[in-house]
């Protein structure tokens, strides 16, 4: 009998701590598959954030670093500059990357640091129990926006992919989703491309993954995935926002 489906080699056997129905498991898997496909496990160094993925260091078989809240791009910069021969990625959530770590994110992007960032946008702070994130949608009810996010008071959500694409430097920025098979398949390609860009020395690649948080959204996993389609993706359109390989071709 042939094995047709198994755990990627780059994932440890440690059981995920994520809630039932949480897409973090899928996204971890996609990252691990990309590492396997490219054969870079032995030279990859991953950086875990503060947030739900804080213990990602237990799940990947490559060397891992746990960073302070929001600082993963700075930590990645240090490592990549000190060890350019290694492949360095960060795995960050929306609070980590787009709130407390926005400065580090923008500056790593504008330096075109040759790193790969996997940015998981689920529009909420998950680990701390469902507070408003910089990416929470207008009107979205969270623990700290109990009457719904009022854009007049709490401002508008930050569209990270669009914002970073306004910079000249970053090499590749794409937004994907993991709410259905088609999107997952495409997300896999995008993540792989982001790692390949680094291997080829192209520079900063960020993949924004529109994700879900059934627990803190107060939805069933299935309903949460539907909400991604009905509410998240209309606000956060999928697609490639920056691809400098296209500019290179044009020249």
């Amino acid at each position: 009998m042939a094995i047709v489906f198994e755990k990627p080699k780059s994932l440890t056997s440690k059981e995920f701590h994520y809630c039932p129905g949480c897409p973090h498991g899928i996204i971890h898997r996609l990252v691990a598959e990309a590492i396997d496909t490219l054969g870079i496990e032995g030279k990859t160094i991953g950086i875990a954030p503060v947030g739900c993925a804080v213990m990602a260091y237990d799940y990947f078989t490559c060397d891992m670093v746990e960073a302070a809240h929001g600082r993963a791009p700075a930590v990645a910069t240090g490592i990549k500059r000190a060890r350019p021969e290694n492949i360095v990625f960060t795995y960050q959530g929306d609070g980590d990357l787009a709130s407390i770590g926005m400065c580090e994110t923008v500056h790593a992007a504008t330096r075109n640091e040759n790193i790969t960032i996997i940015f998981v946008n689920n529009a909420i702070y998950g680990m701390t129990g469902g507070q408003m994130a910089p990416t929470s949608l207008p009107g979205q009810v969270t623990q700290t926006s109990p009457y719904g996010r009022d854009v007049k008071i709490q401002g508008y959500p930050i569209k990270v992919a669009e914002l970073l694409s306004a910079l000249d430097a970053p090499y590749y920025i794409e937004r994907v989703a993991v709410n259905n098979v088609k999107n997952v398949k495409h997300a896999k390609q995008a993540i792989e491309k982001a790692f390949r860009n680094q291997i080829e020395g192209k520079g900063f690649s960020l993949i924004e993954v529109v994700s879900a948080c059934p627990t803190n959204w107060g939805m069933t996993p299935k309903k949460a995935l539907e909400w991604v389609d009905s509410d998240m993706i209309p606000y956060y359109p999928l697609g490639v926002f920056k691809d400098r390989s296209k500019e290179e071709e044009a020249k």
């Binding site: 032995g42 490559c62 060397d63 746990e66 960073a67 302070a68 930590v75 240090g78 000190a82």
Partner: protein, 354 residues
């Protein structure tokens, strides 16, 4: 054979760091340590090293965290307000047991304060600074030569004990020029089997981390770390004892304050007043023993500081308050004068040392 060169203290730190195998430096502009970053910016590209002006002190210290985790010698420098910003990162570096060197060329505070020399970050440097139970090895240079020597030592000690080390200097030390004999470039290859540099598929993955959700496990890491701190306290205390053999009064001062104190001592000795100096070179670990021994011998201590009196607490603890300890201080960027030290000492003597 190298010969003495004239250098600013800030530059001496930079060159000494490079010669000690530090090829990665991250900083953010702030007076009065900017020459250090400028020196690194000039030199690093020429020797295949890394200089990066970070977007903030916070980013700089986290870049340091990354490089330290990746097993290479790394340094950042700043001045007081910037070092406050670095505290989070320093706590993480300590919590992840990483070696790194942090330079604080202190200026007056609190808040934005001023840009003139100060020693008012003593508490921050020696008592924690960031959150959690941890220590830095804190070295206090008192000359440009020591700016170079102690930088080199800071890297060695940091690697030896897997702890962050801080060079606690001040604006005067950073800005002044003195002849300095730089350390010869030396081999600094230290085995760092714990570092992240890729498993090369030859070992289990290494993890650089300070998160332990189980309190039992976290407690254990704290206890183990403090065992190492105990070794540091036993082995790495450094101080200078100056004219203490026959001293009836003991001045305790470090950095620029110790330099001024020496002039005061020379002047007082000419008048027949037997004053000596204990100059802590490490303020953590603090030279407890020599001060305790002095407490049995001298009639009183004068603590000279560029702060509202911070080290004086450690002097009182070390001397077990057996003898009076008086403060001779200026703050906010001012420096105690020779005259002030003489006056304070004489007042203590006249007051029956109380």
């Amino acid at each position: 054979m190298s010969e003495k060169v004239l250098m600013k203290g800030n530059e001496a730190i930079a060159e000494s760091a490079i010669r000690s195998g530090c090829l990665c430096y991250f900083g953010y502009p702030i007076t009065p340590q900017t020459e250090l970053a400028a020196y690194m910016a000039k030199r690093m590209p020429k020797i295949g090293g890394v200089f990066l002006q970070a977007e903030s002190e916070i980013s700089a210290i986290n870049m340091v965290y990354g490089v330290a985790g990746a097993g290479k010698r790394v340094m950042t420098s700043s001045s007081s307000p910037g070092v406050s910003l670095k505290q989070e990162g320093i706590s993480y570096i300590a919590g992840a047991d990483l070696p790194a060197v942090i330079v604080n060329v202190q200026r007056g505070g609190p808040g934005l304060g001023g840009i003139q020399p100060s020693q008012s970050d003593y508490f921050q440097a020696t008592k924690g600074g960031g959150h959690g139970d941890y220590h830095l090895i804190v070295l206090t240079p008192s000359s440009v030569q020591e700016m170079a020597d102690l930088t080199s030592l800071a890297f060695d000690l940091a690697d030896k004990y897997r702890v962050p080390a801080m060079l606690l200097a001040d604006g005067t030390m950073g800005q002044m020029m003195e002849p300095v004999l730089l350390p010869e470039p030396h081999d600094v290859t230290v085995e760092k089997s714990w570092a992240v540099c890729g498993t090369q598929m030859k070992r289990e993955h290494n993890i650089i981390n300070s998160l332990y959700l189980s309190p039992e496990v976290l407690e254990k890491t704290n206890f183990e770390r403090y065992e190492r701190y105990k070794q540091i306290e036993e082995n790495e205390v450094r101080y200078e004892s100056y004219l203490m053999d026959d001293a009836e009064y003991c001045i305790v001062a470090f950095g620029i304050a110790a330099r001024v104190a020496k002039n005061a001592i020379t002047a007082m000795r000419k008048e027949g007043i037997k004053v000596g100096l204990i100059r802590p070179i490490t303020v953590w670990p603090f030279p407890v023993k020599p001060i305790r021994e002095a407490a049995d011998k001298v009639k009183g201590f004068v603590c000279v500081e560029l702060s509202m009196g911070q080290m004086i607490d450690d002097v009182k603890l070390a001397s077990e308050c057996k003898k009076p300890v008086v403060l001779c201080n200026r703050a906010g960027g001012m420096i105690p004068s020779v005259d002030q030290i003489i006056e304070t000492t004489k007042k203590m003597i006249e007051g029956g040392a109380r």
